[in-house]
Subunit: 370 residues, 2 copies
């Protein structure tokens, strides 16, 4: 399906500090994420994919907005928002920290950065979780300051990320562990550099701490990246589905709990600190989830990126939904993420999917796809 | 400025129950609002404008998502979220009820509908205020259920709305007062019909209570509307700026308080019930706001709809921002909404605006524009 319409650009949908640069460098498709324009394609999904998986790419992910929490009760609030044990997070460390509701539903799946004993950033997926933090703090009467700071991440992702990162920051970058970060600068531009990013190719995220320098930072990186064939790109729907990375709003919503999505390893239900959703999550753990996320291979012709939730059937009985789907040019298969009734969510399970090009046979496979 | 790129459609950005219908009826431009596609133009802003101000139009505003609050503490939570005196809101009545933060900043500017003693809908502008409600309820330990129900509004707006509304619903519709609503149905399709809407032309909003009927409802209304020359349209940037209607995210953000925006008449700071932001708002009231929203007439050639916040100067000193701007074909003027330092926010105040086509002279005028 393709539609003929344009996207209205307005002040309501913010431009990132890198917007002008991404236009100059050929961004051809955008999405809206956290009230901000986010480039989602340059050449084509497939061309961008090969650049990402075979070399190194630069992404504007400024739309990963931060909730900054400071003040005497900052740790208490951070703990209260997530089943993750934040007390274990050292200064300079990141944690993948689901934010949960009272019924165990997922409100956001951010990366948490601990900048100080009482200083945190939640680097957000696509929902205004800052309002959740504000509501909780208000209800509990906590002594915290909660704001969205002027912080805009870039990502450098791809197997050949290290030589470029070394050229940019020097030798110490090799020693930075996965999900560790360091406060630093580049030509005087204030940054936090973390070893993280929304791909399975490895790389770093550079949190720009002053939007004024957006253009300068982008161009500096592209310049230093020239000898490394650095290409502008973005989170890639082929690569992330192949790798089983979940997209908040598509594969994961407030209707899903961590057990359904195999994310319970990030939930420390017996952690000391109080948090929202403990009771519900303990109950779900005891009872087992009613549905599970699985990988699907779908038969038939190559199909375009999935725009809707496609119904899934088992012998004509509805049993779930496809939440993301795409053709993998590397695997030469149609691959999908799907949330299915627990009884059909086993490896090899045979199903039918109602796609825009007709009902197709499918079977459950392991994730990541291979 | 015009850019050449497309909008990625994905499951993360929801389609309204009226999406297919709006495409069939020629929607040519969309925006993203509350994680949903919203048609924003059919023929052109100007052509759509004339249809709206001279006759009657049908809008897909399903992106006005609802927070539904029920349970023994529903009234307490609704009161706590807004400086508006909700106890004064009768069942069947709407209130324009700003949701405020602890510092008086505006989190959303919804219309509140009271469906029962302990049953409320906040019909939202563009922010996930549901998460704020959930956070507060959790922090205070309130006994409420908070969810986004399957409710999708349409709007019928324009000076000739009544004959069409009578043809659809019968004689009683004429008696429905402004900001009053009634639960009803059309061909068995469950609706709430309210006399409200985001234009100054008069009309109604039809809250569809089951998304399955989106297409059927749209086509039914267009069919009955044929003799009345009913046209598909949308919230119109020319009409709403002329009328001084503020758009959340553009003219009003969490950085603005109600006093700056002349919305204090909707704030009952001495209301009995507890609410967030009372202290801050009382302080701002006592001290006076530091800046104010004004109307501007901007000299020079007709310019396109404003995409960025344009800086405003008084004799070369920065003194504020244009938050929305457009050319009015009826007034034959460039008109704008702007937030200015209090000392320059007086009628007739002479300023300069940094537009994409150069620095232009401007002067403060009254709102609505005339």
């Amino acid at each position: 399906m393709s539609y003929e319409f344009t996207l209205r650009i307005s002040q309501r949908i913010r431009k990132s500090p890198f917007f002008d640069a991404t236009i100059r460098w050929g961004a051809s498709e955008f999405t809206v994420y956290n009230h901000m324009m986010m480039p989602f394609c340059y050449e084509s999904y497939e061309a961008d994919y090969w650049k990402l998986v075979s070399n190194v790419t630069l992404w504007d992910v400024a739309c990963e907005r931060q909730i900054e929490i400071t003040g005497p009760d900052a740790l208490q609030l951070a703990e209260y928002m997530t089943p993750r044990d934040v007390s274990k997070c050292k200064i300079g460390q990141c944690q993948y920290a689901l934010i949960t509701a009272e019924d165990g539903g997922i409100i956001n799946d951010p990366v948490l950065l601990r900048l100080g004993e009482q200083h945190f950033w939640f680097s957000l997926a696509d929902s205004d979780a800052l309002l959740y933090a504000k509501g909780i703090a208000q209800g509990l009467g906590l002594d915290v300051t909660i704001k969205e700071p002027d912080v805009s991440p870039l990502a450098i992702q791809g197997p050949n990320n290290l030589p470029l990162m070394e050229a940019l920051f020097g030798d110490w970058i090799k020693q930075l562990g996965f999900f560790r970060f360091r406060e630093t600068e580049l030509d005087g531009i204030p940054l936090i550099v973390a070893r993280s990013g929304w791909s399975k190719q490895g790389g770093f995220e550079l949190y720009l701490r002053d939007g004024m320098y957006g253009d300068q930072l982008w161009e500096k990186i592209m310049e230093v990246g020239k000898p490394y064939d650095l290409a502008p790109a973005s989170p890639n729907p082929i690569e992330r589905i192949e790798g089983g990375l979940l997209s908040y709003g598509s594969d994961m919503t407030i209707e899903n709990n961590p057990f359904e999505l195999h994310l319970s390893k990030y939930c420390h239900l017996d952690k000391k600190a109080d948090f929202i959703g403990r009771e519900a999550l303990l109950r779900i753990k005891a009872e087992g989830a009613k549905r599970y996320l699985v990988g699907l291979e779908i038969q038939g012709e190559e199909f375009p990126a999935c725009e809707n939730h496609w119904p899934v059937y088992r012998q004509n009985l509805p049993c779930g939904m496809v939440t993301s789907a795409i053709h993998s040019p590397r695997l030469k298969k149609n691959i999908a993420l799907s949330v299915l009734s627990a009884e059909y969510a086993f490896l090899g399970s045979k199903l039918e999917v109602d796609t825009p090009v007709g009902k197709m046979n499918a079977k459950v496979t392991s994730i990541p796809f291979s």
